[in-house]
Symmetry: C2
Subunit: 195 residues, 2 copies
DNA sequence: GATTTTTCCTAATCTGGTTCATCTTTATTA
DNA sequence: TAATAAAGATGAACCAGATTAGGAAAAATC
């Protein structure tokens, strides 16, 4: 029998909850398993839950008109994942969220979260803080895409997230960094030659 | 004598505040005027306030190693502006925030906001909601940069924000959309020829 | 209202990264 | 363990958009 304490721990890095609150919150959390290549979210369906990753790796991506994939985000242990727009506006998703490995998740539904905001106002603060940090992160990412070349972006990502580079397929990484998989091959090859 | 009611109205689109709360909140708000070409925020200095635009237009931009400018955001009437990362982490800014026209702003300091979160917990909800929306917006922008050509991005921006296009210099717009000002000229010329 | 500065346009050349087509290697599954 | 599918590598041709350098127009300043 598994438990939801990883999420409680996560939240309590930002706010503190008493025993009752923890209990109450826990009653809204659900454990979910998903196998590699399965989809957690699909375009057209409203994204009803956000998922905390206990174990595994996923990615959120868009398929454009020409069928090309663009990865918005990766998620490994201790990260959250969803189609964010779909979740907060409760409108049909445009993204896929796909398991890149077998995953163990803890989920909370949109409706539960709204209820929890009323019952445990502290959670508003928690959500505010992590959303602010995500936003700052997105700003940085956008600027990095503007100011750095493909190769520089790859180097930086490798430096910051070697773990992710090891675990995700190369085409997913290329589509996250905003260039073609062939070009990533070329970059890697260039580096291998140099060193 | 000017007043701070535009900000109160803005906030009350999302939450409701009683008379006392409005009064209390107002006591933390400051009116600020700034002339065209002046800077509200500069790299190296901690961004201490966020600013609501009553009148005018501004942009937040980064100057990269080669001296090129990259615009992260525009702000006109009824928008907020700051160096967001600098503000939330209270660390030195990396961005400039510059007035593109003479501006009339209402400001609130980082410290005041922290105090207000304690005194008026409803404000946590307000901040949570608008941050969530900003984040969804940023996700969309990033994906649009990945999936659309320079010309498509320009068309879309023109359709959504004709007002901004009219008011900001072209080099600022190009640097927001992520391409060179010369290329924007080329796009515009191409269109003029066609129609 | 003349001068200086800033913004905008044009056109030629160049390049970082894409596309397309084929091949090799590595995972999956039967 | 053989068969099949998925992922990665390689190279040639190509293109969207950058760069450079010039001039024209508009706006700000005196």
């Amino acid at each position: 029998m598994e438990n939801v304490s990883p999420v409680l721990d996560y939240i309590q890095r930002y706010i503190s909850l008493n025993e009752d609150e923890q209990q109450f919150l826990s009653s809204f959390l659900q454990i979910k398993k998903i196998r590699k290549k399965q989809h957690l979210v699909q375009p057209g369906f409203v994204c009803t839950h956000k998922s905390y990753v206990v174990k595994g790796a996923l990615r959120a991506y868009l398929v454009d008109r020409e069928g090309k994939e663009h990865t918005l985000a990766f998620a490994i242990e201790d990260w959250w994942v969803s189609d964010y727009s779909s979740l907060i506006y409760q409108q049909p998703a445009t993204l896929f969220v796909e398991a890149l490995e077998d995953c163990s998740l803890i989920q909370i539904s949109y409706a539960s979260e709204q209820e929890l905001f009323d019952k445990i106002p502290q959670l508003e603060k928690f959500e505010r803080i992590i959303t602010q940090r995500s936003l700052a992160f997105q700003h940085k990412r956008l600027l990095e895409n503007f100011t750095h070349t493909a190769e520089e972006r790859y180097d930086e990502f490798l430096r910051k997230y070697p773990e992710i580079v090891r675990r995700v397929p190369q085409y997913a990484l290329a589509s996250y960094l905003g260039f073609s998989t062939e070009y990533l091959s070329k970059i890697r090859n260039r580096k291998a030659g140099k060193s």
